[in-house]
Amino acid sequence: MPFDPSLIHPDDAPLRADGDLDLPDDLSVLAEQLADDAAHLSARYPADRELQVALAADLIQSAERIKRRSWRSAAFVAGAALASLAAIGLTLSMWAAANNRPTTTDLATSPDVPASATLPDELPALLPGSLAAPSPTALSLGELSAPEMEALFDLLQRDPNHASSISF
């Protein structure tokens, strides 16, 4: 549809001195007729009283529903916030624990670690390369799997002359 510039009117309505619209006679007649028609339609089809009652019930239900929904939303948001906080806290604590855990190198060089915590000289050769690699004299038991740990205990028992101890 082509643009019709006549659809856009400037504010050019004729006005009387008091600021009211100065309508020509034929438009005044139309205005009166519009008011009459509206009054007639309204009188002929008034707002239904039952409809108003139904509306009131709807409004009450709607308000209750909105209240319930807002409570549910608030509970959901609070739950999500708590869950997020818990997840962040857990992540941070795991990260901190990972950073604070002594490495095998730490164990070997720390003056607090007793000499008895070190493994027999020949033991590293028996262990998997990755476990023996960090230090030839110390081993972090935390990195051992259950079968590996069992094997370690067997070795220690088999060599009673070699004093060994385990510290956690």
């Binding site: 659809l7 009117h9 400037p10 504010d11 050019d12 309505a13 004729p14 006005l15 619209l21 309508l23 034929d26 438009l27 007649v29 139309l30 205005a31 007729q33 519009l34 008011a35 009459d36 028609d37 509206a38 007639h40 339609l41 309204s42 002929r44 089809y45 008034p46 707002a47 239904d48 409809l51 108003q52 139904a54 509306l55 009131a56 709807d58 409004l59 009450i60 709607s62 308000a63 909105i66």
Partner: protein
Amino acid sequence: MGLFDLDETARQHFARIHRAALVLCGNPWDADDLAQETFLVLARQGSNFQGRSSIYTWLYGILLNLDRRERRRYGMRRRKLRVLWDNQPADVGTTPGADAAAEVSEWKKSLWARVAKLPDGQRQALVLRFSESLRYEEIAEVLECPLGTVKSRIFHGLAGLRRILEEEGEDARQLPAYPGEDLSHAV
């Protein structure tokens, strides 16, 4: 809700909103729906009402927005009306008991059916002024436009209405007033 009581607001203003809905959509069924929906929007979004205007001007704003949305959705003739409009035989106005069709023709022969052909801004200004008797300042508030624009829309709306009538071959001066229950001249 804080600034108003829902029940009380519905009791006070439902009739006027219903009347505006009636002239906007042209049949009582859609008017019922539109008026009810207006108040349901009020129930849902009442917290947005800040009390800077009166509650009924705010309600008119909701009503006009809903009507505009419906028109976009279904065109000028609303869904229920269209069914009746299209199926209505020419002599239905004289048929006893054909209430629904008669109701349609009531609006169809009124000037408001012609107003429905005008652009939205003019149509809404005419409804608020001549059906609802709002002051120009109140109309400006509802339509969110300057006072001069309101007067201009009313003036050009009436002029557009006159043009439509001329195109239909009717003279505005000779339009019949409502003839009571006599529907013999109904379309």
